[in-house]
Amino acid sequence: MEKKDKDKDKGYNRREFINNGVRLTLGLTVVGTGALALTRSTGKDYVWQIDPFKCTQCGRCATDCVKAESAVKCVHAYDLCGYCDLCGGYFKPGAKLETGAENQLCPTAAIQRKFIEEPFFEYIIDEELCIGCGKCVKGCAAFGNGSLQLQIRHDLCLDCNQCSIATVCPSDAISRIPANEPYIIKGDFIKNKEG
């Protein structure tokens, strides 16, 4: 009886010893993997953003965001705007210069046109209405200065681990950028174009 107990103890100790060894190995593996990743890690945080210089306004931003209403909106870089009367982002090509919806390029009439002084007009994006389709961006780039651009709005973006628009973006325009500079606004036109 005593011998049996002793055997049991021995078996138990052996198993304990093996367990401890395996635990140590596994622990070191986990910590090692962590350390390997840590050498490549940064304390910085990343957010998704569209590079307006790569964007080709394919229209997928409006449809492929995980949110029913895309987190991508049109942003107006006013610094670049020519305040044109005939705005390529506002009017459909060849349309009458009247503000009726049938003349507007925007499918949701999200661009407000405001008279400033002869002959300048200000264009303001109503983000509540904007769906991020990029039609106006395309129009403005084709006929005007390209002051309209698409950006991921971080008050709306859920910051998914893998941005579902980035995976379908045909021009690789969406990438992770440091969270301390979360927007790429074209305002600094020359600097960004060169840099």
Binding site: T42, Y78, G82, N161, S164, A179, I190
Partner: protein, 439 residues
């Protein structure tokens, strides 16, 4: 169609700018000088969530894991674990929208190790590491109370049915394949499949594509009978947690003292994770000899399965590599050159506009495909190795005299502790009600 030219002053400015700074000429229409005191608005830039809050998430995770481990191992409180899991569901699920999560962090770690251009954020790394370390010491307490995906399924366990062991073992192999594939796709920078097919994130956000919501509701409905289906049949992080938990230093125990082998706990576990005592029959010489033969056979099979798996993985690298968008595009353009004229194909049109040559694309695609050759070997070998070890484990018998949780499969949810009748003396009731002392 000509633009209406603004006015003379702007023309002069345009002229001055053109002569002064040629770069400015890229702006077709210069910014006007307003005379009416118009103030130009500047574009709004709403800030993303601050980094301090990311670290707060890590802190919450650490606190939840510590509390869960204490509740499971020391306090033995199912109710505490339940409330803690509801908190995690609300915080990590509904408030944090299911992102950041430890399951998805596998991919970030894999990508950061294999892609020098990608740096993982420290918060994501800690989300990956902390639950693993806790599993190594306290078992899968992460699954019990910190994982929002586990919590939402656990709350809907209504009438769990018991699944035969061989079905569980077979289905339990799917997560290993899923883990291997997700690491391969993440390491090659192809896709984050864990996030893409996360079934519950759509429910957490109360918004999402149809497939996501549909998958989530299907899993929840299925989970009423097959408890925690995602955890048991898909979760790739659960594979890692299970391995580590098998060797955990401490683990939830069903009974506070001596097991009376009443079998109540086995019926209480919705996950079939409690193993009955092993009869001593396997120690009989003829059984032992038979088992030893099987054991040697299975051990011998491990290298065979590993190599065979690796070879199959290598053979399928062409199919696997198509997940990468560049490989897919290059292949598409080679097999269907007429698509270059197709104005409807956005991917091809965007590529043609980008200015890269077709040769560059093909070269990049073949580089990626080469990575998949190695990756296919590793993936297949890994799956074969795990299969071999799983087979081998079928004949390793351990002395087990009591009902014990399977440390690899147990989620530490604590239901069994409530069911165990041992030492359940209602002390308070004795004190305050006239039940009389129990001998």
């Amino acid at each position: 169609m000509l633009k209406k030219i603004p006015n003379i002053t702007t023309l002069i400015i345009l002229f001055l700018l053109l002569t002064g700074n040629l770069l400015q000429a890229q702006q077709r229409f210069p910014k006007p000088e307003f005379e009416t005191g118009y103030v130009q608005p500047s574009p709004t830039t709403p800030e993303p969530r601050s980094i301090a809050l990311e670290y707060f998430d890590v802190f919450v995770l650490l606190a939840v894991l510590s509390l869960a481990s204490w509740l499971a191992v020391r306090k033995r409180s199912r109710r505490g674990l339940l409330w803690l899991s509801i908190f995690s569901l609300i915080y990590f699920g509904f408030y944090r929208d299911g992102c950041i999560c430890s399951i998805g962090a596998i991919q970030n770690v894999a990508l950061s190790i294999f892609d020098p251009a990608y740096a993982i954020s420290l918060a994501a790394l800690l989300f990956f590491i902390l639950p693993l370390l806790f599993a190594l010491f306290f078992g899968r307490t992460f699954c019990a109370a910190a994982c929002p995906l586990g919590a939402i399924q656990d709350l809907l366990v209504i009438n769990p049915i018991s699944i035969p062991s061989w079905i569980r073992k077979t289905l339990g192999f799917i997560p290993v394949i899923y883990l291997g594939l997700s690491v391969l796709f993440a390491a090659t920078g192809s896709d984050f499949i864990i996030c893409r097919y996360d079934p519950f994130v759509g429910i957490f956000r109360m918004d999402g594509p149809f497939l996501m919501i549909f998958l989530g509701i299907t899993f929840l409905l299925l989970g009423m009978f097959f408890a925690r289906p995602y955890c048991r049949v898909f979760c790739p992080y659960g594979v890692l947690l299970g391995w580590l938990s098998r060797f955990s230093k401490w683990h939830l125990s069903i009974t506070p003292s001596e097991c009376i082998k009443c079998k109540l706990c086995k019926d209480s576990c919705p996950f079939d994770a409690i193993e009955p005592p092993v009869s001593q029959e396997y120690r009989a010489p003829e059984v032992a000899r038979k088992n030893l033969k099987r054991f040697i056979l299975y051990v011998g099979l491990i290298p065979v399965l590993t190599l065979l798996g690796g070879w199959i993985g290598y053979k399928s690298h062409i199919y696997l590599s198509r997940v990468h968008p560049d490989v897919y595009l290059a292949e598409l353009m080679i097999t269907n050159p007429e698509l270059k004229q197709d104005q409807e194909n956005l991917d091809i049109q965007a590529f043609l506009e980008s200015g890269d040559t077709f040769e560059q694309l093909v070269e990049e695609a073949s580089l990626i495909r080469n990575k998949y050759k190695t990756g296919g070997w590793v993936l297949g070998g890994f799956i074969g190795l795990v299969l071999g070890i799983t087979l081998m484990n079928q004949v390793v018998f351990r002395r087990r005299e009591d009902y014990e949780p399977h440390k690899g499969d147990c989620f530490s949810c604590g239901r069994c502790m409530d069911y165990c009748p041992v030492d359940k003396v209602p002390q308070r009731k004795i004190k305050f009600k006239s039940y009389g002392p129990r001998e």
